[in-house]
């Protein structure tokens, strides 16, 4: 499903270049539940962004579903993101002026699904994350946990192959964190690959496979 071969990524900060990823080799199969761990600055978010085609890489090869993802146009990248990948962010990244159901339905708008159909589907997904009653509320009327569940519903609605979650529990208390993790595990059980970036051990402990990053290299891989 996801194949990374010798991925390198450098950022230039002023006159210095920051070598963030130093030759990452990684293979993630369909249906895995993986966590990527590391201290801040270890390159874990960068890795996730490359996998999510949100960011470019300098050298190496990234294959998503047997297609090489490199130097593609923004339009092409948008297509792949929309087709294959659902995102869950630490800061939720919901659109504030849209209500819950509109936020969830947004990926389908970019798939040219009719308004009626996408709102109906959005309601189904809201029900699945247990927030049907909150459909008409805007994000600022919701709690962090509720927002993250809406973000997950939004990530799921386009029927992606992969869910990429960047610190999905980073802004939540532990009780809510576990609820969100349960939801992600349930998503995983339906056959969707889930990749979670976190620095919390109890979160990564709930995944099937932990990839530890340090200074841009994978230091060890372990099943939990």
């Amino acid at each position: 499903m996801i194949q990374l071969k010798d991925i390198n990524k450098k950022y230039s900060v002023g006159n210095n270049t920051l070598h963030v990823l130093k030759g990452i080799d990684l293979h993630i199969k369909q249906g895995e539940l993986v966590s990527i761990m590391g201290a801040s600055g270890s390159g874990k978010s960068t890795l996730l962004n490359i996998i999510g085609i949100l960011d470019n890489y300098d050298s190496g090869e990234y294959k998503l579903n047997e297609t090489i993802m490199k130097n593609m146009s923004e339009t092409k990248a948008a297509f792949y993101r929309n087709q294959y990948i659902g995102f869950v962010f630490q800061s939720f990244n919901l659109i504030n002026f849209k209500n819950a159901v509109e936020n969830v339905a947004l990926p389908l708008y970019y798939q040219k699904v009719s308004r009626k159909k996408r709102n109906k589907l959005a309601m189904e997904y809201l029900e699945r994350v247990g927030l049907k009653e909150w459909a008409e509320h805007t994000p600022n009327e919701l709690s962090g946990g509720q927002k993250q569940r809406i973000a997950i519903a939004r990530a799921l609605i386009a029927k992606p192959k992969i869910i990429l979650a960047d610190e999905p529990t980073g802004a939540l208390d532990s009780q809510t964190s576990f609820e969100v993790m349960d939801l992600l595990k349930e998503v995983n059980r339906s056959g969707i690959t889930v990749i979670i970036v976190t620095h919390e051990n109890d979160i990564s402990a709930m995944t099937d496979r932990i990839i530890r990053l340090k200074d841009g290299v994978i230091i060890n891989e372990a099943g939990s």
């Binding site: 923004e74 993101r81 800061s91 990244n93 970019y110 040219k112």
Partner: protein
């Protein structure tokens, strides 16, 4: 462009960002509104000035007898100079005259009557060309003609004001007006743009000279030269003055002996003033438009900046760069178009209403705007607003979603 779903997305964005929409709309509306008001006021000023000088032929030469103030050829100053029909004939013999007339009017208003109706109006004794020199419009019948003059006919052309006062609803043509015992047959009905020229009747000069014992004396000789340039008309006036000075024995330099005006000079001054006003209005208009463009551009740039994160989210969810650009552009075009049109309607509406609330003044009349100018200005503002939105939104659409998402 005609994707209904896209418009729904845009409308919902507009509906949920009222303040932002209002600010953009307001700056556009205000710009167009001010432009319309300024153009309208400028035109009103122009119309008012034009109105003041509409009544007469704008480029006539006017000669009237005066009183000498300089001793000349052994003659004492204080001598009256009266123009005569011989002077008129001399002038008539000169080449290059388009219209020429002579006239005198009895001092003040005269009592005119028809049946039991009385009215006080001026009697102007004139020649046929007065019709063109006065710029009168004949509505019924005709003006004084040469046969009337040659045969000393007691006929008159009356204004619609006179008709209203004396004849009410009766047809005046063919009826007789009594002026201090002398009956004049009405032969024509006229109007004049200048209000002061509406309170008068015209009779043949010859008839009046005979009736009021004027012999061959006359008060005024006036004309329009064929060559209407200021230079040519001044030359002609000088020529006539020289000739009259010789005939009436007064000093050429004596300004008081003959009152001679060249209206062309005034006419040119007026045209210059009009050109000035027009230019002033345009300069103001252009600067108003520029101010509007700057305002709209600023707001568009802020809007795009404010939406950077939203753009990032949309891109992460599969929005293509073009869909981002077109969404922002269509929204801005829609808002500026509606707002521009509103400003246009409000401005034009105010101009329509204004004359009812501001008192009639001699130099301000009919504030109005050229509608195509107003529409063009609105289109310019919409295009400018779109361009101002286009480049920042293009930049925003090129930002990597990851950068946009980090933008807190």
């Amino acid at each position: 462009m005609f994707d209904l779903d896209k418009w729904q997305e845009i409308f919902s964005t507009i509906a949920k960002n009222r303040l932002r929409t209002f600010l953009t709309a307001f700056s556009v509306s205000w710009g167009i509104f001010m432009l319309i008001i300024l153009l309208g006021a400028g035109n009103g000023l122009q119309n008012g000035v034009a109105q003041e000088f509409k009544g007469d032929a704008l480029n006539s030469l006017w000669l009237e007898g005066g009183q000498t103030s300089i001793p000349y050829n052994g003659l004492k100053p204080g001598r009256d100079i009266r123009l005569t029909m011989d002077d008129f004939k001399e002038i008539k013999a000169m080449p290059g005259i388009q219209w020429l007339s002579s006239r005198f009017s009895r001092r003040g208003s005269q009592d005119l009557s028809y049946k039991k109706e009385h009215g006080s109006f001026a009697i102007i004794a004139c020649l046929p060309d007065d019709q063109f020199l006065e710029n009168t419009t004949i509505h019924e019948g005709r003006f004084i003609n040469q046969i009337d003059v040659d045969e000393y006919r007691k006929v008159c052309a009356i204004s619609t004001n006179v008709k209203k006062a004396l004849f009410k609803d009766e047809n005046p043509i063919g009826n007789y007006i009594n002026a201090s015992g002398i009956p004049y047959k009405v032969i024509g009905l006229f109007t004049d743009e200048a209000e002061r020229d509406m309170n008068r009747i015209y009779i043949p000069l010859s008839t009046a000279q005979r009736a009021y014992n004027y012999a061959d004396k006359t008060d005024v000789i006036w004309m329009v030269p064929r060559d209407k340039s200021l230079q040519a008309s001044n030359r002609m006036l000088e020529e006539i003055k020289t000739m009259l000075a010789l005939r009436h024995n007064f000093n050429m330099e004596d300004e008081k002996a003959l009152e001679a005006y060249n209206n062309t000079e005034q006419f040119k001054r007026i045209t210059d003033v009009m050109d000035g006003i027009r230019m002033f209005v345009w300069i103001i208009g252009i600067f108003t438009i520029i101010a509007g463009i700057v305002g709209v551009s600023n707001i568009m740039m802020i809007v795009v900046k404010e939406r950077t994160k939203e753009i990032g989210i949309r891109k992460a969810l599969g929005a293509t760069p073009w869909s981002v650009v077109s969404m922002i552009l269509m929204e801005s075009v829609y808002v500026t178009a509606i707002a521009g049109y509103t400003g246009l309607v409000l401005g034009v509406g105010l101009l329509e209403l204004a004359p009812q609330f501001i008192p009639e003044s001699p130099f301000f009349k009919n504030p109005e705007v050229d509608f195509s100018t107003a529409i063009n200005a609105t289109i310019v503002l919409i295009i400018a607003g779109s361009l101002a939105g286009f480049f920042p939104s293009l930049n925003a659409s090129r930002i990597k979603p990851i950068v946009a998402l980090r933008d807190e």
